[in-house]
Symmetry: C2
């Protein structure tokens, strides 16, 4: 029986210092729960001479081998972020029999298969609760608590930056550019916000969640991605008027014979939907399963301590196994090979905002174009004048994405149409 669990941390940034703090503050209880002592033996840093808060008394090193080859270290905690060298370090750690906990969505979304193969080959644990939803428990609930369900759908608000921006655009009526600047000033958005606002960050997390929920490997390349950069105040206003919030959602759906589809895009979400009230930087994951019905997990999707909460939970789990000399019971859960349903075959309701010539018969021409593509309409309304043009908002009943694409081509070709300003999916129109 192990008397003391020793950790090696790769990285001392936001998450790394959070892990040190959480372990320091709650150590007495954590030790009780593990049934053994636990300590951070070494931390990999860029500059060992830099003075750091919270890290006093811990050996700092700038040599990864000093951690990866230390036979004394049981668990390597990868909190450095980025694909490389994080991937190599994790692989090496497992190769030398160490268990790995990571908060790294980039690596898990892109190299999950490779990592799990290494974990299996060396009988080590690979845990990554913090890679999705920050502190929100979602990987363990999916792998354990909901394991008896056939999951049919996951909808998640997985990016705090964009949720903050959409919330402010809705509440304060700001436009995209000014709210982005505010979010950057508050530290909610990075100097280069592309991965957040473009949907890539959410897409990585969506790939990880879908892999677990559907028990099949979903990579980042399988996820179709659309960000919030094209959302205009007019769209927010129409959403509000119609009883919706606009949210950037990661959606993973089981389309049965057609396969599964995983995507990230903004959605008109009914105000009554539980995700619709998830505001500011909060994240939430809404799940449908054939036994549980609907469930939602809500909390802080980022931040030093919340993310460290998830990292430490994984560390405790592995430590319990070490103390009790039990192996890793749940490894890779991707035992199926489901096909990916192309986004063209997915079905949704759509909101289309158009700028058209202000002349009689336009509404009819618009409606006819949708009709020619066999799209049934919920409403086509001329809403207001924008300069010399009239604005039209159309909402469809449920239809295939490829039909919408065909309709947009028809509309674009109509002489009366000046611009297709916006196309967004609508949940439960």
């Amino acid at each position: 029986m192990k008397k003391i669990i020793k950790l090696g941390l790769l990285g001392s940034g936001t998450v790394g210092t959070g892990v040190v703090r959480v372990l320091n503050e709650n150590k007495e209880d954590i030790v009780q729960k593990i049934g053994a002592d636990i300590e951070i033996k070494k931390i990999l840093v860029r500059d060992v001479n830099k003075k750091r808060e919270y890290l006093e008394g811990i050996e700092l090193t700038d040599k990864p081998e000093s951690i990866l080859n230390d036979p004394d270290i049981d668990i390597v905690v990868e909190v450095m972020g980025g694909k490389q060298p994080a991937l190599d370090y994790m692989l090496k750690a497992m190769e030398s029999g160490k268990h790995v906990v990571t908060a790294n969505k980039d690596v898990v979304a892109a190299h999950g298969k490779e990592l799990f193969a290494m974990a299996e080959a060396h009988n080590t644990a690979l845990m990554f609760e913090a890679s999705v939803g920050g502190g929100i428990p979602i990987i363990t609930p999916l792998k354990h608590c909901l394991t008896a369900n056939k999951i049919t759908e996951i909808m998640g608000i997985l990016n705090g930056t964009t949720n903050y921006m959409l919330t402010k655009m809705t509440q304060d009526g700001c436009d995209y550019d000014s709210i982005l600047k505010e979010a950057q000033a508050k530290g909610y958005a990075e100097a280069n916000p592309a991965a957040d606002v473009g949907g890539l960050d959410a897409a990585r997390k969506a790939a990880i969640l879908a892999s677990i929920a559907f028990n099949t490997r979903v990579s980042l390349d399988d996820v179709s991605v659309e960000g919030i950069t094209n959302i205009e105040p007019a769209d927010i206003q129409y959403a509000t008027q119609l009883g919706y919030s606009i949210k950037l959602l990661a959606i993973a759906r089981d389309y049965g014979e057609k396969g599964i589809n995983v995507r990230v895009h903004p959605v008109f979400l009914p105000k009554e939907h539980p995700l619709s009230n998830v505001n500011d930087v909060f994240n939430a994951i809404f799940i449908k399963g054939n036994a549980i019905g609907e469930a939602m997990f809500y909390g802080r999707g980022a931040g030093s301590l919340p993310t460290a909460s998830a990292v430490m939970a994984d560390i405790v789990e592995i430590s319990r196994n070490l103390v009790n000399d039990t192996g890793n019971l749940v490894g890779c859960t991707c035992y199926k090979e489901l096909k990916i349903c192309p986004v063209e075959e997915t079905e949704d309701c759509y909101y289309v905002r158009l700028r058209v010539n202000d002349e009689s018969g336009v509404l009819g021409q618009i409606a006819t174009a949708f009709g020619q593509c066999n799209i049934s309409m919920k409403s086509v309304i001329q809403t207001r004048m924008v300069g010399n043009f009239a604005e039209i908002v159309a909402v469809t009943h449920i239809t295939e994405n490829k039909k919408i694409k065909a309709a947009l081509n028809l509309l674009q070709a109509l002489p009366v149409v000046d611009e297709i300003s916006s196309v967004l999916r609508v949940e439960n129109a």
Copy 2:
């Protein structure tokens, strides 16, 4: 290594048939996840001759010993409900080395200590995810995912019946009696609704959650309980006007030196609070921890399939351990003995509705009475006439419960006060 896991079910009611259905429908995946076959060998029923849906092909018995003494049965699944004979059956099952999964909040809340002692003595698992929040994963998240946190507060909507009633009273303006009848007609409330509307059902679940969150045994007797029977339409209306929802909450708080307090009562909850938007029969548990910050778990708190989802998750967990020949890693987590903070010493803001004589100076007398008890007021407003009386609504700043009780005594004794109509706590007044 086990090749097949055999279950014995005690009970074939709502939850029992749910377990059979979920296992039947999702068996292929469940077998894959366990790594062994799994089957229900026997079910304890009252009348073996009664024809039952979903139970075909399974041996029915009316003799509990036939399950409890069957050496072939690995896991006993107690889904009969009620304290006895469920408690005896569970104890006997563990005594003969069987693992136990239960959905029984009554037994776990009242006899947790006894049950866990038996589990430890015979090295068996005792799992009870379904006893709180139906399908919502909450026991496992607390024991595992949030284990590195010091939990400071839990607030839960743990009873679907009362949440449905309060939702309808708010949305449709119905009074208590008519909505209770409607809830009974829809099957949301039982013929004898006392345990639901009186708060006892939620109190049992609160005791279980508090025990796990604070790592100390909390019994039903430790929970102070107040139901929704005194909520009048006027209270709902004032709550709405002031920007609150009224919710029946189970609250478990850490008051530090003073101990922990666990209670169930209706609360004015700000509309912006995540629990405030949990409507109808849905349940949710909101948790504060020193690392995670805030998190919420939402879903169906009752029902055949959601509850079976939780029961089956526990079964899968135990089965994985059986297949891998590993013991039960997390048993009783009550390794502390914290004292209970008396409700008199808890601190909250309060809403007090009074019927008073319609004469000058009354408002001053009311405010003075609060002041004499050192209670700072947020507002004291005369709102409307009720017959010949004036109605006054007072909202306090945060104050000790014993001060409120003293103030109510003073108010009651004032000649101008006809009736103290309502006293409710206000979250974040």
